[in-house]
Symmetry: C2
Subunit: 434 residues, 2 copies
């Protein structure tokens, strides 16, 4: 046994109770917010056929995945994202699912890339998707869900911003600048780097990627558009004008939802991936240099690509890694969530009362109330220490007076206040004690 | 796109919302029961170094796992169980973790075996472990947690039984029958088949596995012991007598916990795996032919095997597949858990009132109350149908009287009762409406 094997594999985490409690808090809040906005939960297998990921991302995806063969030689891969699974599942039952499909999931995902800050080899990602609606209201709703969650955990509009763009508009502006549509995909991938590089680095990178001086200048004119009105003055084509109307409508919806103050128009947000079709967005915090907290947008042709009908779709993903880093940095994780949730810790004043202590513990648990006891027979002081270590709210002390007079002592472990009450009365109202 | 790729990989499931709701109910109950009994949650990475699984299960394990290499050539495997991870994590922080360690987890697991009834290639398994206590009370407590869960979901003692044994006692009885300890491991694996085969099949199997007629006869004498008292009459060695005392003590604890009626002594329960050291148990339903619902026992030397200190440990695992099958068969899944949990569905009587409907939806959500609306502008009847499909409890109808007199209509979708109230009043007390 080398020392190495005590560690988790490179780029992964051990979820000890303290970290797990933080994740559980995030997962529960993701889930509650999803349900409140009318989404239902789904999930898929942790591994899929490797081919499924190739459909969306091409052959080169294989090198970024953990893949393997089963005994029959089927090529399988651990999922790096859940969207291909969603597309497959929707395509499989497209005719029987009521529309619009409003689904959420909190998949565990893996990728084989080199681990970096904010990017690990194993992570969790909240996914919100609306399939079957082409209305901009669906896009607005996805943004509302994301912001509602962030607001609820204390990330208000002074801390974060919702950066919105439309690939349709950018495409149209590129055409106006004489850059033909066959090159837009490539240009989007370049534009996606704009915020991550210095001005000089970006110019160099764009040249390396084959942009001419004229093209670079046109691209930078687009990238420096300050707001929707600035776009408006440049927009010429009918398609682009219609899309601009959608952005205005989006902003009206965000206003109706009370989250307009998070909205920023950001032409550099194009999302690196090929399958986005219209409005796209990313959520960033304003103060730190962290990666995007969330990102998503409209992907109207993906379900068809996976063998389903042509169904419009929009959604986003939000990972746990950047979010947790940001929350730690801003000290926004509530102190009490790492407590165990244990309410009572039953202590015997002497080992002769242990069976009585056990009986009381057991009656509490049978009533569905969390209770534990010291598994070792030791001094009252040591048992109180164990009660604190276990994160219990109250210690219940069982002793001679319990045997003689049916009385137990309740000690509040936070305030140290204590009182005696009848055992039966305690059991009867244990769930009301706060 | 062939049709095949629409399906999940062989032996795995797609968790559509209906199945997901059932799993969510099971997971939440597992979690709540764990916390009530004083356990805290942990988890580990979905893949571990392949070597970690070899430590516990030998080289042959590789063929039962999905394994692969990362770019640096590290051999990794998707976890088929979480116990090696638990042992690694405990070993890593053995000195800083307060003892006893009471941990639970609900890991997602995979194995590369041929799928069969009750055994899939991907499944979930509730794990309860107490590390650092050698008291039989810890064994009793694990059983209590398992039974408490099963009782809570409606599997009472008329449906299931807790089959208990001790490997120490069986070993001692085998020695008394002149079967030397070096062969016990092999005999345990044979005994493990007893309940799965007919009497004739078992005799044949035992002979194939190299048991002599005398040995088979001795093994069958042990396998047909009816209760602890019958064991008592056979027991000779001191070690065996002490272990028998533990079984009696165990039964007393189960009595104190109020679950003695689930207890059955079963000499065939030896658990196939090499690492169990003392008391072992399995939980079965009495009526069906399904596999064990849960199984576990004491494994006192495993933490040391993984590089930690020599810490006594006991625990069990309960999978989702057999449990779900049994619950479906006995019709024990509550009907309302597959409902979405959506409370309000807001409907406009005419599209001119849609913005008003949206505003009301948004105010409900902002208050943390689940609410949705029809994303399509369509007739009131169709919107009511959508409300039902979405599983909402109430429809809220917004129309002319809302605009003119600030009145909305609440319709209970289960009873069809409806009433009008002031919009403000509705929003204010929406969380109290039942």
């Amino acid at each position: 046994m080398g020392k190495k094997i005590l560690q988790p594999p490179k780029g992964t985490r051990d979820y000890y109770p303290e970290l797990m409690a933080k994740l559980r808090w995030i997962f529960d809040t993701w889930r509650n917010v999803s349900i409140q906005h009318g989404f239902v939960e789904y999930d898929g297998p942790i591994f899929e056929s490797l081919e499924l990921f190739r459909i969306k991302s091409g052959d080169e995806i294989a090198s970024q995945l953990f893949h393997f063969e089963d005994r029959a030689g089927r090529e399988l891969a651990i999922r790096p994202e859940i969207t291909p699974t969603l597309a497959r599942m929707v395509a499989q039952k497209a005719n029987s699912l009521p529309r619009p499909i409003k689904w959420f999931s909190i998949p565990r995902l893996s990728r084989a890339e080199r681990p970096q800050r904010g990017r690990l080899r194993e992570f969790f990602q909240w996914n919100i998707d609306i399939v079957g609606s082409d209305s901009v209201l669906a896009d607005a709703e996805c943004m509302f869900v994301a912001i509602d969650f962030l607001r609820r955990i204390g990330l208000t509009s002074d801390i974060i911003e919702l950066q919105v763009n439309s690939r349709t508009i950018i495409s149209s502006l590129l055409v106006d600048a004489n850059i033909t549509p066959d090159r837009h995909e490539h240009i989007f991938a370049i534009m996606d780097k704009y915020e991550k590089l210095s001005d000089r680095q970006f110019d160099e990178y764009a040249k390396q990627q084959g942009l001419s001086a004229d093209e670079l200048s046109a691209v930078k004119d687009i990238l420096t558009l300050k707001d929707i009105d600035a776009v408006s003055s440049l927009t010429k084509s009918q398609e682009s004008k219609e899309e601009l109307d959608k952005l205005h409508q989006l902003r009206d919806y965000l206003h109706a939802f009370g989250i307009e103050d998070y909205f920023v128009y950001k032409p550099s947000v194009v999302r690196g991936l090929a399958y986005y079709t219209g409005i796209v967005f990313e959520i960033f915090d304003k103060s730190t240099k962290l990666r995007a907290i969330a990102g998503g947008g409209r992907y109207d042709h993906l379900i068809k690509l996976f063998g389903g009908p042509d169904m419009p779709a929009t959604g986003f993903g939000m990972g746990d890694v950047v979010l947790l880093e940001l929350l730690e940095e801003l000290d926004k994780i509530p102190a009490d969530i790492t407590r165990s949730g244990l309410k009572f810790f039953v202590i015997d004043a002497d080992k002769q009362f242990f069976n009585l202590a056990l009986k009381i513990t057991s009656e509490l648990r049978k009533k569905g109330i969390s209770a534990d006891y010291s598994s070792k027979r030791q001094s009252l002081g040591k048992q109180l220490k164990s009660a604190n270590q276990a994160g219990a709210k109250f210690a219940i002390i069982v002793g001679q007076e319990t045997a003689d007079e049916n009385l137990i002592t309740i000690k509040n472990l936070q305030t140290s206040q204590q009182q005696q009450i009848k055992t039966d009365e305690f059991i009867a109202k244990a769930d009301e004690i706060e």
